[in-house]
Amino acid sequence: MKLLKSATLAAAMFALALGAATAQDATKVRIGTEGAYPPFNFLDSAGQLQGFDVEIAKALCDEMKVECEFVTQDWDGIIPALLAGKFDAIIASMSINEERKKSVDFTGKYYNTPPAVAVPKDSTVAGVSPEDLKGLNVGAQGSTTHSTWAEKVLTDSTVKLYPTADEYKLDLENGRLDAVVDDVVVLSDWIKSDAGKCCKIVGTITPVMEIHGEGAGIALRKEDTELKEKFNAAIQAIRANGKYEEINKKYFDFDVYGG
């Protein structure tokens, strides 16, 4: 009897917790981000989310007058987690491309920077063309536009896929990789830091529209059209009122919004 009672209690509490978690509060938006992609989104030494994406997200939430809550999620599973309702929007430097548009909807871009290739300082690699990288070990983070580019374009190189950017950085530093591909801002931010002094940027890649898309946008579930419009309006608003520029200046000495 006692067992039955506590089981009922547990079930009731579970249902309550579930109800609380799924209750749609119109003024609360849960934002998914990776937290491992400096300088766009990362965890600082205190375990707090920081970065350009995070500050843009906060500015957008202020603009929309909603309360935002951040959820960190591995990159691999970030779209499935959005679709499963773990959060309502992805603000994690996600490139807007055709492949992803099949499953999610995007706002307009909130920044656009080109991809680049980094190599060790003493490397003889002279450019970023498939010929320059022929026969070499090239690293990229898996499930990214950069990995798609590497697999599609660098057909004569060995492409290695890593779970996060941290790991390919380690392998470029220790010489297992001859080159890595990622966003130019991510690579240059790393190279400027102590950890990245092993390496240099050899050049940027001309984005391929089908692979790289028009830039980074906010990903949403397809049915959330209202939220998408609110985000789009908020992006326009912070572009117009100088908030975007303020955040841009804090992180970069050039305009990341792109042409």
Binding site: D76, G139, G175
Partner: protein, 283 residues
């Protein structure tokens, strides 16, 4: 009358076994049938999901990669288990010895590799030890440390060696001391005793835990994904990140299941062979 009267001329025909008692629908029988029914229903549902979600394009695009992943998993597991087994022999000897050098060394090895996660061991070996390329180059071992696959096999071998040594040492300890003494009294040497008397008995005890360890390795090898070795799980995650279709995990589940099932049958055959002296019908 001669002695012939005492010689049997015909075998007594074997009588039919008594009829088995009628089975009644007892509570436990009903419960068992119901539970079995649930399992069968789940199996049918699973098959239905796979067949219903069949998408020729996805199958053509990702199934070959996933099958390739199965091959990588098999290589990882076979190599690691074999190297681990070889390495486990000296560790077992250390675990069974009272030598003040060998015993603590073997204990420390097993303590460390069983006490820390395989994920951490693989990461430390590949990224941690891998961050000293100059050292490895000067030792002439960089060709080894450079390759993610070799590092994964090394990490898994060390890990499974610790577990296998514990299994083997425990099984040898489980053979009564009297067996050693009896063998000694027959004039058998220590090595012959171990090989002919102790190990055959110890292996009966060790067989199932060994099988368990390999099953765990099959599934644990998914960790290789963090060091860029794309095994079955790695390829599945790759396909999932492209399709967002959980179908691919169902395929992976079926493939893992098949691997474990093959292993289970091989293990049944081993057990049949090892316990042949314990069966009454075996002549």
């Amino acid at each position: 009358m001669s002695d012939a009267a005492f010689v049997a001329t015909a075998a007594i025909p074997s009588a039919a076994p008594p009829p088995s008692p009628r089975k009644h629908w007892t509570g436990s029988r009903i419960a068992g049938t119901l539970l079995m029914g649930i399992w069968i229903a789940l199996g049918i549902g699973f098959a239905f999901l796979i067949v219903g979600g069949y998408d020729a394009e996805k199958v053509a695009r990702y199934l070959p990669r996933i099958i390739g992943g199965v091959w990588v998993t098999v290589q990882l597991v076979v190599l690691s288990v074999v190297f681990g087994a070889i390495l486990s022999i000296p560790i077992t000897l250390g675990r069974l010895s009272y030598n003040w050098v060998a015993a603590p060394l073997a204990f420390g090895f097993s303590y460390f590799f069983r006490g820390t996660p395989l994920l951490a061991q693989t990461f430390l070996l590949y990224y941690g030890l891998g961050s000293f390329p100059d050292l490895w180059k000067s030792l002439g071992l960089w060709w080894f440390m450079r390759e993610a696959f070799y590092c994964a096999v090394l990490a898994f071998s060390l890990n499974t060696a610790a577990y296998q040594a514990e299994i083997l040492a425990g099984a040898i300890r489980s053979v009564p001391r009297g067996q050693w003494q009896a063998a000694a009294s027959l004039g058998l040497g220590r090595y012959a005793t171990l090989r002919k008397v102790i190990l055959p008995q110890a292996m009966i005890t060790a067989l199932r835990p060994y099988g368990n360890e390999i099953v765990l390795m099959i599934k644990g090898s998914a960790i290789a994904g963090i060091v860029t070795v794309f095994d079955l799980m790695g390829e599945t995650r790759y396909a999932y990140s492209k399709t967002y279709d959980f179908q691919v995990y169902l395929w992976a589940a079926v493939l893992y299941f098949l691997m474990v099932e093959v292993l289970r049958r091989v293990w049944d055959a081993f057990e049949f062979r090892l316990t042949r002296h314990l069966r009454r019908d075996a002549v």
